[in-house]
Symmetry: C2
Subunit: 281 residues, 2 copies
């Protein structure tokens, strides 16, 4: 495994692979890797000849009051994990390497599906994601890129701009990795106090109960209200509890496959989770 910190270095490293028609896979991350990320790499390892993992805490996808500065940077530990799981290249550029010292004038925005859920609380977030992912795609030029389903809306946004702009890249979503108690793995779980860490799995429990309730015929609106009240009672401050189609369209009733979405704060930590619920007609 090799660590590249410059675009030019990475391009030269990948030149031979490209000449030899190797299938290149990209796993974009912000580092501080957990089993969720490593599952993405394992999936890439299965499908690709060359696996590139990018580690870059992207400033332009953080809001002014978000955790850009404090976001955990753990490159040494990440490298060990990636070596074990079979990554070929880590691409770990600086902010200057990615954004240069000339002002960036170009923006990529996806309308509609970003005006909702995390897009409401995080204006500009998905533009920042679209720009950095496009840059990484153009730098690495992978055949396949891998993203976690935990960031379900992000995955939908990426699929959308890839389709709209004819990017020659297959987007693969990988299921959420969870702790034994059900908590969706996230780098931000590291912010939780011991007490809040014990409370956090309630999010997933709510989703599983909601799934059962829906499949037993309870009304969608009641099920969502039930999640909200359980979480509030447990000390969460709710950002949203919503149901959408897998394409993120609003839905009034449980009459097709849907996705349940939760975003909620406990203490100062914002957690998100989701669950795909099958409709058995």
């Amino acid at each position: 495994m090799k660590i590249e910190s410059t675009i030019q270095g990475l391009s030269e490293s990948l030149k031979t692979a490209r000449t030899n028609q190797k299938i290149i896979g990209l796993v974009p991350t912000m580092g501080n890797l957990h089993q969720g990320h490593l599952n993405l790499v394992r999936e890439a390892r299965k499908k690709c000849d060359i696996v590139v993992v990018s580690i870059f805490v992207n400033p332009i996808q953080f809001g002014p009051n978000e955790d850009y500065d404090s976001y955990p940077r753990t490159l040494e530990q990440d490298s060990k994990l990636l070596e074990e799981v079979g990554c070929d290249y880590i691409f770990a550029p600086t902010v200057e390497q990615m954004y240069g010292n000339q002002p960036r004038l170009t923006n990529i925005s996806v309308s509609g599906i970003t005006a909702d859920l995390c897009g409401l609380q995080r204006p500009g977030h998905f533009d920042g994601v679209a720009v950095v992912v496009t840059k990484l795609f153009n730098i690495v030029r992978p055949e396949i890129a891998f993203f976690g389903e935990k960031d379900f809306q992000q995955l939908a946004v990426i699929r959308q701009f890839v389709r709209d702009l004819n990017m020659p890249i297959e987007i693969t979503g990988v299921p959420i990795a969870r702790a034994e108690d059900g908590l969706a793995l996230s780098s931000r779980n590291g912010y939780l106090s011991e007490e809040h860490r014990k409370t956090a799995p309630i999010i997933h429990q709510c989703l599983k109960i909601a799934e059962q309730d829906l499949q037993q015929g309870k009304k969608l609106a009641d099920v969502l209200a039930n999640i909200a009240s359980t979480l509030t009672q447990a000390g969460f401050v709710i950002d949203y509890v919503e149901a959408r189609t897998p394409e993120l369209q609003k839905i009034e009733e449980f009459n097709q496959n849907i996705v349940l979405f939760i975003a909620a704060k406990i203490g100062t930590t914002r957690l998100i989770d989701n669950l795909q619920v099958q409709h058995n007609a």
Copy 2:
């Protein structure tokens, strides 16, 4: 020479070239080709192994009151010209092929340099250009793409988003092709009445006189005012007469290399032209 009308057909045609590491050049056009376009193709022929010319009248770069419907479509004649000049593939997709039948949610915008010159009169125009050029880049995946300097601002916008998004493509600008009387070649010249066609070269004459005046020490503001009054007297309705740096920054004095820009209507036809003026320090 082969004409492809589908993305898949073109991809398959280019597969062998790509496998064999051929250098692919792209000349994006809206068809109705003249010597200006053919110069782009000749330049591509010199630098590339495989030359692709796209012919696509892109609806999303036209404003609601512009000439999308009446824009000349002359594929048969274009094909003959391209065959003579050494094009390998024409890519001539339908609107449906390019934009599908699902709504497009993704936009690419370049700020700053589009808020000026043609951007003022044509809101959304450069977004439409950025989107279609990005799509064509992703479909054709050329090493080099060729654009005319007549659309100087468009060229600057394309260079900007290519740099900002790390697109792995070299952008080559090609000088303006002119009729013997100096009129910059343009598909829109075909809209001119016989009388207006005789008047139109005044635009270029004004630019050449302005260049002389500047190099002889006349004040920039006076030179621009002089162009405007000459054109108005000749029957033009001026959209803009401006001087900018080659990076499109505003400028008060002629104290470095600059570009003079004119956009003006004669009858119902809007013409644009520009001239790069060297500053000999």
